[in-house]
């Protein structure tokens, strides 16, 4: 298994169901497989309830999968108790021990490994330095700001030098400005420590800016894995196109040998992305980004403009095309004559339309 050897973490066909209060069952994870390359930054992205946190807890050992296998550096760990796994977690709530100081919090995991005192002190110092908290070791968690608590949680997990660091929505409790700073900080930490990071988030910007690779989750399954740019440019399903960035989903039908959009007309061949899946027969859906929908103003335009708003230097417009509405975005300079209640023509940028799974 060549793939497994290069992987820090290898997840094979993992499933996990939870009972619901109504007596039914929800599949939190449905046959999930994923490889995480050693020393890489993997982001698990998806809406809440999609199973990404459950997968993280299965890796940590806080949940056990109903079926499937989890390997860490080629060794199976899904039957290893949580306290023996060389994996550590930064929890969403930070879960700092309130009755201990920062130093004691960071030292806790090292004491559990029964390391010599001197080594513990050294590693605690190094971890606090790494997260830039030197000098705050004597404080209690309650005496720290949210951002500082976050750093303590990071230092506590990193001090153990885990094979894989798991981060469960670590930035969701921080305000926007702090979050941006911490995103860069996390990226820096990952690059400095060469530890494999697996981060869970529902924030696509976070996923895009931090991940070496992104795994997009929906309803307990991984729908697409790839580099952030690739996932953005080449969404495989309607869900991915919609969830990452904005997308217009248009119904496409085959008509006279070519493809057409109802209410708009035949789609010129050059509008399709070069590597878009073929339309085949029947009805399919295609995705197109708002910035690839080009509007031209004109009193005799075919489509009414429902809304046109300038946000910053861009025009955000919504146009009625047949039964559907299309969102469009273009630089204000190209948007003269486009206003709410007016009419316009619609074209698609070359190479912008892509058939996606519905």
């Amino acid at each position: 298994m060549a793939a497994t050897e290069a992987s820090a973490l290898s997840i094979r066909n993992v499933s996990k169901a939870f009972p619901t209060p109504e007596g039914g069952e929800v599949k939190a994870l449905d046959d999930v497989s994923l490889d995480v390359a050693d020393g890489s930054f993997m982001v698990l992205l998806g809406p809440s309830g999609c199973g990404k946190t459950t997968l993280l807890r299965c890796i940590a050992g806080l949940e056990s999968p109903d079926s499937g296998e989890i390997d860490l550096k080629g060794t199976r760990i899904d039957d290893v108790p949580v306290w023996k796994r060389r994996v550590n977690t930064v929890f969403q709530s930070y879960a700092l021990f309130p009755h201990m100081t920062v130093t004691q919090n960071v030292a806790f995991g090292l004491q559990m490994d029964k390391l010599p005192k001197g080594e513990i002190a050294q590693k605690v110092d190094r971890s606090l330095e790494l997260v830039r908290l030197t000098g705050l070791g004597g404080r209690r968690p309650s005496q720290l700001s949210g951002g500082q608590q976050q750093r303590v949680a990071l230092a506590r997990a990193l001090a153990k030098e885990p094979e894989v660091l798991l981060l469960d929505e670590p930035l969701s409790a921080l305000d926007l400005k702090l979050r941006r700073g911490m995103q860069l900080e996390l990226k820096r930490l990952q690059q400095e420590t060469h530890i494999t990071f697996v981060l869970v988030t529902h924030d696509q910007d976070e996923a895009m800016s931090m991940g070496d690779r992104v795994a997009v989750f929906n309803e307990g399954r991984i729908v697409q894995v790839g580099e952030p740019r690739e996932v953005y440019l080449r969404p495989r399903t309607r869900f991915v196109a919609d969830f990452i960035g904005e997308a217009n989903i248009v119904d496409v039908i085959t008509e006279g040998g070519g493809a057409a959009i109802t209410g708009w007309g035949a789609i010129p061949g050059e509008s399709w992305a070069a590597d878009s899946p073929a339309i085949g027969d029947g009805r399919r859906v295609a995705a197109v980004r708002p910035e690839d929908v080009m509007l031209t103003a004109g009193g005799d335009g075919r489509f009414p403009i429902i809304d046109a708003t300038f946000i910053g230097g861009d025009l955000h417009a919504v146009v009625q095309v047949g039964d559907m509405t299309l969102a469009a975005r273009q630089p204000a300079a190209d948007a003269t004559g486009l206003s709410t209640g007016g009419r316009c023509d619609v074209a698609f940028r070359a190479g912008s339309l892509r058939i996606v799974e519905d």
Binding site: G61, L62, W83, F91, I120, A121
Partner: protein, 309 residues
């Protein structure tokens, strides 16, 4: 100044609402205490009940010395021994209750909320019947022909019954039984507020179950443990029924001696002096608990890595 009438906490202006409660406390708690203290410095009535209004410290002398018929005083540790036994029995009771209560309280606190209410309710069920009746039940359970000895001899584990009733063991069993809910409930109240995600974090950092319990859970429920120890130790020290019915007079605790002084012995001043001593012991115990609690919490907060290791 415009906000004077609305500032401060709600109810601040209605101090008089506390008067009935205050009057009750003065009349029914403070006054009897004062009477007991006064009685302990008075002389024994020659005939019948009551006291003779003549100041003396004789009752306190009787605590430590006995007087022979010829009027010779000699040191007599009888009562000190009883005090000592009472404190030891109460401490054992409190510790046994603690050990039994921690798993029960934690187990209840980790059930779904719907179940917790029911389980806490079950813990309080013993209060529905008089303690006297429940203590008598232990006479039946523990006696030589009772179910425990019956089962042990019936199974051939014992050739003849072990005498359990009318021993210190029976007294402590009765005390633990009487006061167990007073330990479970405060520990549960603390455990219920415990954030079990902290336990997950500790597991994640490599702590085994025992270490999570000792280093994370117990420090968090410490207020409940201290409250439970006080709530069990103090009433156990003054308990009368269990030593009377189960200890069989052989293992008297201080309350039984006090009862005898006010009853059969007709020595009210000495009974009052014993009561004052109990009061002193309880106050010393409370101070000790407070010091221990303060010291351990301060150690927790100021412990640097160096002192920890």
């Amino acid at each position: 100044m415009a906000r004077r009438s609305t500032s401060g906490r709600a109810g601040q202006g209605t101090w008089w609402a506390g008067l009935p409660g205050l009057a009750y406390l003065v009349a029914l708690v403070l006054a009897p205490l004062v009477i007991i203290v006064i009685f302990s410095f008075l002389s024994r009535a020659k005939l019948g009940v009551g006291v003779k209004w003549e100041f003396t410290v004789q009752p306190y002398v009787e605590l430590f010395y006995s007087e022979s018929l010829s009027g010779e005083r000699s040191f007599d540790p009888t009562y000190l021994q009883i005090f000592f036994n009472s404190v030891v029995y109460s401490l054992i009771t409190a510790l046994v209750c603690l050990v039994l209560s921690i798993p029960i309280a934690l187990w209840i606190a980790t059930r779904p909320p719907k179940w917790r209410t029911l389980l806490v309710f079950l813990v309080t069920i013993p209060f529905w019947t008089s303690l006297l009746i429940r203590t008598y039940a232990f006479v039946i359970i523990l006696n030589d022909n009772g179910p425990i000895n019956g089962a042990l001899t019936g199974l051939g584990i014992l050739s003849e019954p072990i005498p359990m009733l009318y021993t210190p063991f029976a007294t402590i069993v009765g005390l633990v039984y009487s006061f167990l809910p007073f330990m479970i409930l405060p520990i549960y109240a603390s455990a219920e507020r415990f954030d079990f995600r902290l336990a997950e974090a500790a597991y994640d950092l490599g702590a085994t179950k025992g270490r999570v319990l000792m280093r994370i859970v117990l420090p968090a429920v410490r207020p409940g443990i201290i409250a439970g120890l006080i709530l069990v130790f103090i009433p156990a020290l003054g308990s009368f029924l269990a030593p009377e019915l189960l200890g069989g007079g052989k293992t008297s605790m201080i309350a039984n001696v006090i009862a005898a002084q006010f009853g059969a012995s007709r020595n009210w001043p000495f009974g009052a002096a014993l009561s004052v001593m109990v009061l002193v012991i309880v106050m010393l115990a409370l101070v000790a608990f407070a010091v221990v609690a303060r010291r351990s919490s301060r150690r927790g907060s100021q412990q640097s890595l160096e002192s920890l290791l």
